[in-house]
């Protein structure tokens, strides 16, 4: 009998992302929800999980959720701290990291990502931060998990700018580009989970969070979202997961 209040959709999203790290050795994370999910995974599922931030901290064990990827606690608790050139050349590019968590402002049906501009590059309607480490991270890490809020603004039929290649234009695209990793294996949103169809590489809805209807997800998606033959329902956050997450956020 739960004494914990019902989880928010953001909490569910974070818990689902954390579960994805159960059997993973190393995870590369940016700031925000991915970082929270990875710390939660260390607390609940996988205490040996190695957190790698692009600031150069390898094996960071933050007690608090860092605001930036370079907070002091990350360096102080890391197994090793390396320079940015070393991080990219010796650690990311050779494919040493199992899973990368990435966010994006736009995601297309092949899980390609835009974090550069909305509108035209030369005369953008909205200038976004830019690539950061994402293009090479997505090309090199074992797999990519995208974490994004579900709306038509984010899940678009056509990206305004292709910052980071997911599955390109479909089957064989990554191989043709000489990429190392498997690319995006899941897009975790506040409504459910999209995963690439093994044949077409196109994202399809495989899981909805509790209380979410598949049609609701399709309406929040800017293209005709395919559905998996069977759509699972996310097992709701356990009391342990939720308590740990809330305790973490409150630190």
């Amino acid at each position: 009998m739960s004494t914990v209040s019902a989880p928010s959709s953001a909490e569910v999203q974070t818990v689902v992302a954390a579960r994805r790290l159960r059997d993973v050795r190393t995870v590369f994370i940016g700031v925000g929800r991915p970082s929270t999910a990875a710390i939660l995974a260390r607390m609940v599922h996988n205490p040996e999980l190695v957190l790698v931030y692009e600031s150069g901290t390898i094996g960071a064990k933050p007690f608090h959720i860092p605001l930036s990827i370079g907070d002091g606690e990350l360096a102080q608790t890391a197994d090793a701290v390396v320079s940015v050139p070393e991080m990219f050349n010796y650690w990311i590019s050779p494919g040493r990291i199992d899973v990368a968590f990435l966010g994006a402002a736009q995601v297309d049906r092949f899980a390609n990502l835009n974090s550069t501009v909305i509108g035209d590059y030369e005369h953008p309607r909205t200038r976004l931060p830019g690539a950061g480490g994402a293009p090479e991270i997505a090309a090199s890490c074992g797999e990519v998990v995208v974490v994004a809020p579900h709306s038509k603004r984010t899940f678009v039929a056509k990206l305004d700018f292709l910052t980071t290649v997911g599955h390109g234009d479909g089957p064989g695209a990554r191989e043709l580009l000489g990429f190392r990793g498997r690319g995006p294996t899941a897009v975790i949103t506040d409504l459910g989970v999209l995963e690439p169809d093994p044949e077409t590489c196109e994202l399809r809805l495989t899981t909805v969070h509790e209380g979410v209807e598949p049609d609701q997800v399709r309406e929040a998606t800017g293209w005709e979202l395919a559905l998996a033959p069977e759509i699972a329902i996310t097992p709701p956050p356990s009391d342990d997961e939720l308590a740990a997450l809330r305790e973490l956020v409150s630190r």
Binding site: N89, G130, G133, P135, T164, A173
Partner: protein, 271 residues
């Protein structure tokens, strides 16, 4: 042969109008005090180079001193947009700026090539992206395997400015914590200025300490708290509240300008 100078002297001697200037520090050790001194001394038409523009470059861009920006990620980390950076690119306010945009891996390799005084670096990257059409790149073929890789041109700034925890009286500099690309920025640049939290008699070797010898640095200036609202590990703490506060004050052109006038040009430290 690092000279120990005041911050004002260091900036006056080393940075000229129109220079390309790299103020580096990856989240950690961002040289805010030196950047503010650039503003107070009225430097203009700068090419600003930095992997992660952050608040400091938002301020410099908003004050109109940048003609060009070389970068790979222009956000307020963990908070959101850099509003002055956006306003300059979206609306040309207070002026339009030219962009030389890369990925982090590209920028890091460009600095490393500069530090090695090589004309370019080879990497795997950019492939399949729209960034490849905007960044200055060239394909390059491995003479042994035939694989096609990407060449990026070396960065060779006129001046590097970085912040570190301490220097000794000869100007040997030690920093610890996240090292970013500071060493590469200094070695890649024609001239360099290092601001430090403190000048000590002798550097005490530290875990994670990186020492940059005095003879590759032009000037060292003491600037306690000089990386705030960023931080200097072990000495100051990152002012996360200021990063959130900046999201508000920087949204509005007038509020921004007033804040800069009062807190930076009025020579009061940023805080």
């Amino acid at each position: 042969m690092a000279e120990i100078v005041s911050l004002g002297e260091g900036v006056a001697e080393l940075v000229r109008d129109g220079n390309s200037v790299a103020l580096e520090g990856f989240t950690h050790l961002i040289p805010f005090a030196a950047g503010h001194e650039l503003l107070r001394q009225g430097r203009s038409e700068l090419e600003l180079i930095r992997m992660t523009p952050d608040l400091l470059y938002d301020q410099l861009i908003g004050m109109g001193v940048a003609r060009r920006l070389v970068f790979s990620y222009g956000g307020n980390p963990g908070v959101g947009s850099l509003h002055r950076f956006r306003d300059a690119i979206e609306h040309g306010w207070p002026r339009a700026i030219e962009l030389d945009e890369h990925s982090h891996a590209g920028m890091a390799n460009r600095y490393a090539a500069g530090a090695a005084d090589m004309p370019f670096a080879v990497m795997r990257g950019y492939r399949g992206t729209d960034l490849a059409a905007h960044a200055h790149l060239a394909p390059i073929t491995c003479p042994f395997t035939g694989e096609t890789l990407v060449a990026v041109p070396a960065l060779r700034p006129d001046v590097a400015i970085v912040h570190a925890q301490e220097a000794d009286r000869q100007g040997n500099v030690q920093l610890w914590g996240i090292p970013g690309v500071q060493k590469e920025a200094i070695l890649a640049s024609q001239r360099s200025l290092v601001t430090v939290e403190r000048i000590v008699k002798e550097l005490e070797p530290r875990p994670g300490g990186i020492v940059i010898p005095h003879w590759v640095i032009d000037a060292v200036a003491e600037a306690p708290g000089g990386s705030l609202p960023s931080y200097s590990l072990g000495i100051t703490e990152r002012d996360n509240e200021f990063y959130r506060f900046w999201d508000e004050v920087s949204r509005d052109r007038q509020a921004f300008t007033a804040w800069m006038q009062e807190h930076v040009l009025g020579e009061v430290a940023a805080r």
